[in-house]
């Protein structure tokens, strides 16, 4: 039987304190679970919800109620940050999430720097803050997670990614200046999320993977700027989840250097092994989203039980969910997680 409220359980888990069972969550942002089934059930739909704080908050609450995830996750995409810094966004459709239509600058050398509060003053960010405020007021026992696109992914959404990746090596000074600027924007963004009621911040940085960057660039950039962001959020008194995409072998040695309160990983990574290697790490994940979309109920049950048996600290999908994931499959996942 549950003793703790979902919020207490998640916050305690992130502190490494004892809980009666692992929470089961889905943080929003890159990893959001605004699936078509939920939108059709209640009529709060995307893409409208990306620009309307009421729809955004209502949809986040619908998702929480229908799926059984023990958090509210806001927003539902990874474009808020880049749009505020100048890139063009395609808002997608009900089924298809928004994306960067065009990065505004071809090179880090072309970046026109805005004031450090450009992101927090943007319309999109305002929508997110208001939605967080509404959702947090609605159910105080359910934690609201504010989701942020990480420094390198935001940077690679503002500068052409192919050039950006080369310039991390070729034009180091300007690349550092630019990523630092992006990080400062994100710190302000996180601060306003916290001020409006977010009790956890989750950072997903899919460009900052070992597979793309390799160990050297991951250490020189990803670790440095993700930690700068995490440290700043810690000063606000709020715990941070960091999600690392893809295979991790190339950068495993850096993972323990991240200051995050929990590390969330992709389905390809064995959390069990990661725990063995770094026993102090709070682990989160990593039910395959492929399984969630196409799997049979018994397989979803078994895989969830395996995560519980492996003592994964926080149960969550391994990555972004497909919008056509059947609601019933998610309910199977959260149901098994809660039945412990």
């Amino acid at each position: 039987m549950d003793v703790l409220s979902p919020k207490e359980r998640l916050l305690r888990s992130l502190k490494g304190e004892a809980v009666e069972r692992a929470p089961v969550i889905c943080p929003g942002g890159m990893m959001n679970s605004a699936i078509v089934d939920v939108m059709k059930n209640h009529g709060n739909v995307l893409p409208d919800g990306h620009r309307d704080s009421k729809i955004m908050a209502d949809l986040a609450l619908d998702v929480q109620a229908d799926t059984g995830f023990e958090n509210v996750g806001i927003p539902f995409c990874m474009t808020v940050e880049a749009e505020a810094l100048g890139s063009d966004i395609d808002f997608g459709t009900l089924k298809c999430e928004p994306k960067i239509a065009k990065e505004i600058f071809p090179s880090v050398k072309d970046v026109i720097y805005k004031e450090d509060d450009a992101l927090v003053k943007s319309d999109r960010a305002g929508t997110v803050f208001q939605a967080i405020y509404n959702a947090a007021g609605h159910s105080p026992d359910i934690p609201v997670i504010g989701s942020i696109t990480g420094p390198l992914s935001t940077a690679a959404s503002v500068v052409d990614p192919m050039n950006f990746l080369k310039e991390l090596r070729k034009v180091k000074d300007e690349s550092h200046r630019f990523v630092d600027y992006v990080t400062n924007q994100l710190i302000g963004y996180a601060q306003h999320m916290v001020d409006n009621g977010a009790s956890v911040i989750s950072i997903a940085d899919p460009t900052a993977t070992g597979e793309i960057l390799g160990p050297k660039m991951f250490g020189d950039y990803a670790v440095v700027y993700i930690n700068k962001l995490v440290d700043a959020i810690h000063e606000m008194g709020v715990p941070v989840i960091v999600h690392i995409c893809g295979r991790m072998q190339a950068v495993t040695q850096h993972i323990a250097n991240l200051h995050a309160d929990a590390i969330s990983v992709d389905a390809l990574v064995s959390l069990k092994k990661l725990k063995e290697e770094y026993p102090h790490l709070t682990t989160m994940g990593n039910l395959s989203t492929f399984l969630l979309e196409f799997g049979e109920t018994p397989n979803i049950q078994r895989s969830t039980e395996q995560l519980i048996q492996d003592e994964i600290n926080i149960l969550a999908p391994a990555c972004g969910l497909s919008t056509s994931t059947p609601l019933q499959n998610i309910q199977t996942f959260t149901g098994v997680a809660k039945a412990v």
Partner: protein, 221 residues
């Protein structure tokens, strides 16, 4: 300098990402009267092949591979005007793109790069491509292979749609379909009825070569 030594130095300069050296050596090859195609094939492409190998072995990562490719392209720019058209033979035609809903095209760009270096003719559709467009462009272009990439789990069903459209139109056998990208596994490739799964850009070339010579190998069947 001996021709072979020059080729070796060009290949090394590509691997070392040294654009200026590549440019100088390419110029020198022309002054020495060496056939431009031979310099591209035995020097530049060899270097890029080795870069691809280092990428496969996780010695090099995306930034390094892109810089090697820039170095190679500097050399190609020097040599291209001197190519005689008759010695350009291609292994096959490939249409590639990133599935609709996904604008991450780093992986796809690497595949194009390695495919072109590996001797394939490539039509790059770009990113965020609807399934039907893969099919219509492949027909128009007379492609042998359709390469579909995605980085996002959410767009994986689009890959299946491409295969389904081919089947519906009764032209499934005309094309080999290769899928790849972050969330894709060989099991997924099999499940949706693709012909091949490529682990990374270097692997894509090998899979494409296998598929055009022998149908059954690429999925380990």
């Amino acid at each position: 300098m001996e021709k072979e030594e020059l080729f070796r130095q060009i290949a090394d300069a590509v691997v070392e990402m040294e654009e200026d050296t590549v440019e100088e050596l390419a110029q020198q090859s022309l002054e020495d009267g060496i056939d431009a195609y031979e310099t591209i094939d035995s020097g530049l492409a060899k270097g890029m092949e080795r870069a691809g190998q280092l990428f496969d072995e996780e010695e090099y990562f995306v930034p390094e591979l892109l810089m090697c490719s820039d170095a190679m392209n500097v050399g190609i720019d020097v040599l291209k005007p001197h190519l005689k058209s008759e010695n350009v033979s291609k292994k096959g035609k490939v249409v590639i793109g990133v599935v609709e809903g996904d604008t991450h095209d780093i992986g796809k760009n690497l595949v194009r790069l390695m495919m072109e270096t590996g001797g394939f003719e490539v039509l790059d559709l770009g990113r965020d491509i609807p399934p039907a467009e893969f099919v219509s462009k492949a027909e128009e272009y007379g492609a042998d292979i359709i390469g579909i990439a995605t980085l996002m789990t959410t767009t994986m069903p689009g890959m299946k749609e491409v295969v389904d459209i081919l089947a519906d139109k009764g032209i499934r056998d005309k094309f080999k379909v290769i899928v790849g990208g972050g969330p894709i596994s060989p099991a997924f490739a099999k499940k949706i009825g693709a012909d091949g799964y490529a682990r990374n850009a270097a692997d894509a070339v090998k899979v494409a070569e296998k598929l055009l010579s022998n149908t059954d190998l690429a999925l380990g069947a």
